[in-house]
């Protein structure tokens, strides 16, 4: 009998057998302990009671097995005897339940939690006391937690897009009811067997933390200010990697935006399979992903609460827009091309530089952190070390060098062509470099910190591009005008010609407005259809585009320009009674009616759309004749 080996572990298998490899099944690769979530809270040394022990304390419920335990208590599977339904029973450690004033607070909070009635929130059925333990009876979710699901690998963008809206809905519902979760983490996000999400442990962190911090109204301000370190530590309840900075620094000021931060961490972890620790890359740099996710994640993970999403609903809105406007292949491709162009070497080098800077700063900070809480110091390190200045100086230096080199070519070689070639090349290279710095900076700092010098450099570089790109219709209109009608009349001339100049100015202005608004309509239409193109080109400068409003404004300008041209042409040329002098009167006043008779008089204002080359020629001819006549008139007057 021949033998084959298992392709995973190399163990011998019988050749004709279809049985699975026993070696792989005895210690499967998936059966490894996950890393423990570091939970801050008073229940660290909690030793949950056995099922029998707990059953002795319970009335009306029967406990069958322990299904989970953590820093905040333990969860048992049980049955409510009266209604004969399965329930989950959460037990809180005795040291919490025995605190003074706990019962009233627990009752108050539990009643608030029981009011939460949402398909994505685990319902609270009952609360009470089971011997020395405080007890919360909840709906039983027989499925898996997001942690278990993540143990099978990171989620695809599509899966994340199915989960996040449910999460946002539940959170925004609870936030509207005034309940903040405070401990959103994958362990608390459960999936039913059909895949529906349920958030559990709502508001539990608040119940568990020290009352003096979260209910300052109950105590005088003296108590508030004299919290010693132990009390402060006890007041911080949550899971360290999912806690917003303010949750650690100022636990009393925690609001719903702490949940938004935790949501950002969870989203990052879902997409990349990693935690956003320290200096982390945006998700799209870790995995092939729509770059719009970066914006959502980074915004939710802003260190300052006011820079995060104001509500879970607005975060859902952004996520939905990714969902409804599915990943255009361009959004990822642009990013890749962008990366390929710059190459990894520059990025690596910059990373090394910033690493060195951060290490130096870290050393300094370690010295100071020896007093005071380690956690507070850790967050201060991250905030204190900002490499933005170095990036700014670097980018500005490159710009100055580029300009100096151009000037050198101009002076030393004195070749216009070389300057014309050299200038755009160096400018584009500098722009690419500055943009790369900008991107590196937004990777290093979350939320992205703006460096004024880098911004200035980018603006200086962008200005010519924007100026040429946006304003060329003005030049075109002026050139076109003088091509068709000759130069505008002399504005300094008084008398009849003064009116003529006014008419020219209004018409030229209208034409410019018309051309500009046409151009903007084109630009904005491109932007509306393909928003990533312009956003990519000008990303460091554009923060929020209001395309539709701009389209409306440009359309209004367009209409105004058209109507002003039409009105001017009618009033100025056909309605002399209104006071503006028509050309016919003008010619009459010049006494060159002979021209009119000979058919060389101004042939009426042509329609722009119907202007044939012949019309143009006639208009030009007429202009020349008129100018000649005007000159003759002047000569006569002088005599």
């Amino acid at each position: 009998m021949t033998t084959v080996t298992c392709h995973r572990c190399g163990a011998v298998l019988p050749s004709e057998s279809t049985a699975p490899c026993p070696r792989c099944l005895l210690q499967p690769a998936w059966d490894r302990p996950g890393y423990p979530a570091i939970t801050l809270g008073p229940g660290q040394s909690f030793d949950p009671p056995s099922v029998d022990e707990l059953n002795q304390h319970l009335v009306g419920y029967e406990v069958t097995e322990l299904i989970g335990r953590g820093g905040m208590g333990a969860v048992y599977r049980g049955r409510q005897l009266s209604l004969d339904r399965p329930v989950a029973i959460k037990i809180l450690p005795p040291e919490i339940a025995q605190r003074p004033g706990f019962r009233e607070r627990f009752g108050r909070e539990a009643r608030a939690l029981a009011k939460l009635n949402h398909p994505n929130i685990v319902a609270v059925h009952d609360y009470g006391q089971a011997g020395p333990f405080a007890m919360l009876v909840m709906e039983l979710v027989d499925g898996a937690s997001l942690r278990d699901v993540l143990a099978q690998g990171k989620l695809s963008a599509q899966e994340a897009l199915e989960i996040v809206p449910q999460l946002c809905d539940a959170l925004s519902y609870a936030h509207e009811k005034g309940v903040v979760h405070r401990d959103i983490k994958p362990e608390n996000l459960l999936f039913e067997q059909q895949g529906q999400l349920k958030i559990t442990d709502f508001g539990l962190a608040k119940i568990i933390s020290r009352p003096s911090v979260h209910a300052p109204a109950d105590h005088d301000s003296q108590t508030e200010t004299t919290l010693d370190e132990a009390e402060l530590t006890q007041s911080i309840v949550g899971t360290i990697h999912y806690m917003a900075p303010e949750q650690i620094e100022r636990p009393s000021e925690v609001d719903h935006r702490a949940d938004i931060y935790a949501l950002g961490v969870v989203l990052y972890e879902m997409l990349t399979g990693e935690l956003p620790l320290g200096r982390f890359d945006p998700p799209s740099q870790r995995v092939q992903l729509d770059i719009r996710f970066d914006e959502v994640v980074l915004k939710a993970l802003s260190k300052q609460p006011q820079r995060r999403y104001a509500s879970a609903a607005s975060m859902r809105h952004d996520v939905d827009s990714i969902h409804s406007n599915p990943k255009s292949s361009a959004s990822t491709r642009v990013h890749d091309a962008d990366r390929a162009v710059m190459g990894r070497t520059v990025g690596d080098w910059l990373h090394e530089t910033t690493d060195t800077v951060r290490r130096a700063m870290h050393r300094g900070a370690t010295f100071t952190s020896q007093r005071g809480s380690a956690i507070l110091a850790a967050t201060n390190h991250i905030r204190g070390s900002s490499p933005s200045r170095y990036f700014g100086i670097l980018a500005f230096g490159v710009l100055v060098a580029a300009l100096l080199s151009t000037w050198f070519i101009f002076v030393a070689i004195d070749d216009d062509f070389a300057v014309l070639v050299w200038l755009p090349i160096t400018m584009l290279a500098t722009l690419a470099f500055a943009r790369h710095c900008h991107r590196e900076l937004s990777k290093v700092e979350t939320p992205p910190v703006r460096s004024p010098l880098l911004d200035l450099t980018l603006r200086l570089l962008y200005f010519p591009i924007i100026a040429i790109g946006l304003l060329w219709p003005i030049a075109l209109t002026l050139v076109g005008w003088s091509e068709f009608y000759g130069p505008p009349r002399d504005p300094w001339q008084s008398g009849i010609d003064g009116l003529g100049w006014g008419r020219d100015a209004i018409l030229i202005g209208s034409c410019i407005v018309l051309a500009m608004s046409c151009w903007f309509l084109v630009l904005l239409t491109i932007h509306a259809i393909w928003p990533l193109l312009l956003a990519f080109l000008f990303s460091p400068l554009i923060r929020r585009s209001r395309t539709w409003w701009m389209l409306v404004v440009a359309g209004a300008c367009f209409v105004a320009a058209i109507s002003s041209i039409v009105m001017m042409s009618r009033f100025a040329y056909e309605e002399p009674a209104l006071g503006l002098l028509s050309d016919a009167t003008f010619v009459d006043s010049l006494d060159i009616s002979g021209d009119v008779a000979s058919g060389t008089a101004r042939p009426g204002f042509p329609q722009f759309s119907a202007m044939s080359p012949r019309d143009v020629a006639r208009v030009k001819q007429w202009h020349n004749r008129r100018d000649k006549a005007r000159q003759e008139l002047r000569v006569q007057e002088q005599r």
Binding site: M1, T2, T3, R8, C9, G10, A11, V12, L13, P14, S17, A19, P20, C21, P22, R23, C24, L25, L26, Q27, P28, A29, W30, D31, D47, S50, G143, A144, D148, V149, A151, Q152, G153, L155, S156, Q158, E159, E162, I163, F191, E192, Q193, Q194, G195
Partner: protein
């Protein structure tokens, strides 16, 4: 280690704690059930040693009859604490004694707990267990026994799990999801499985997790059955894992 103390006492540890005193009905039943559950690796092991089908069946039967017929187990037999090691040394003793005395061992005296019918019905299974190895290659009898034991443990766990799923009318689920137990699942076309079962991809992951969780619980429980102290479960599992890798 506090939570380990709370793990339920397993059958083998009951037997050990009673000092092998078989007059205690709980001990008697525990041992009976253990023997009932763990005879196939013994059979497969004997087959590998070159015994014919009938001889192997006879010897397994005779061995259990001898074992269970005794009023008390020798503490020395249980010195190593593990049921597996105990069975191996006892079986080895029994077989060599039997060969020496040429079937003169007290075979007919005891009660035949593992009936002939049980052995007949499970023989195919046990036979297939013995097919794993072409020969008893390195001649290490104990290593060979351990390998059979480990394979039996896994296949028994899988069979029990399959029964559990079948009882819930989820036989199809088990058949489709079973391959995900072996590795992290990259060899399984998850999309196809999800559409076959009518699940979303998240729900499929939930189902996979539940299967793995149940499997792990059952495997740990099966290992726990045969060790003296729950703290030895991990070590026993590692030993069995190692035994499968070296041949």
């Amino acid at each position: 280690m506090t939570n380990l103390k709370r793990l339920p006492t397993t059958r083998w540890s009951l037997v050990i704690q009673a000092g092998g005193d078989r007059t205690d009905p709980v001990v008697r039943r525990s041992l009976d059930e253990l023997c009932e559950n763990y005879w196939p690796p013994l059979y497969a092991y004997l087959r590998r040693r070159g015994f014919s089908c009938d001889d192997a069946a006879d010897d397994v039967q005779g061995f259990f009859a001898d074992l269970l017929g005794r009023d008390s187990l020798q503490l020395a037999d249980m010195a190593r604490g593990r049921f597996r090691a105990f069975l191996f040394s006892s079986l080895d003793n029994y077989v060599s004694k039997r060969i020496r005395h040429d079937h003169a061992a007290c075979r007919g005296g005891g009660i035949r707990v593992v009936s002939l019918a049980t052995i007949e019905s499970g023989r195919d299974q046990a036979e297939s267990l013995s097919q794993w190895e072409a020969t008893d290659s390195n001649g290490d009898a104990e290593a060979s026994f351990d390998r059979h034991w480990a394979r039996w443990l896994v296949s028994k766990t899988l069979a029990d799990l399959a029964k559990e799923y079948a009882a819930d009318d989820k036989q199809r689920w088990f058949d489709l999801l079973r391959p995900t137990l072996e590795d992290s699942g990259d060899s399984v076309d998850r999309a196809a499985v999800a559409s076959e079962l009518g699940l979303s991809s998240t729900a499929l992951k939930v189902a996979i997790h539940r299967l793995r969780k149940r499997y792990r619980q059952r495997l740990i429980a099966a290992v726990a059955e045969t060790v003296n102290d729950p703290s030895e479960i991990g070590q026993e599992r590692r030993l069995l894992f190692a035994s499968l890798g070296t041949h």
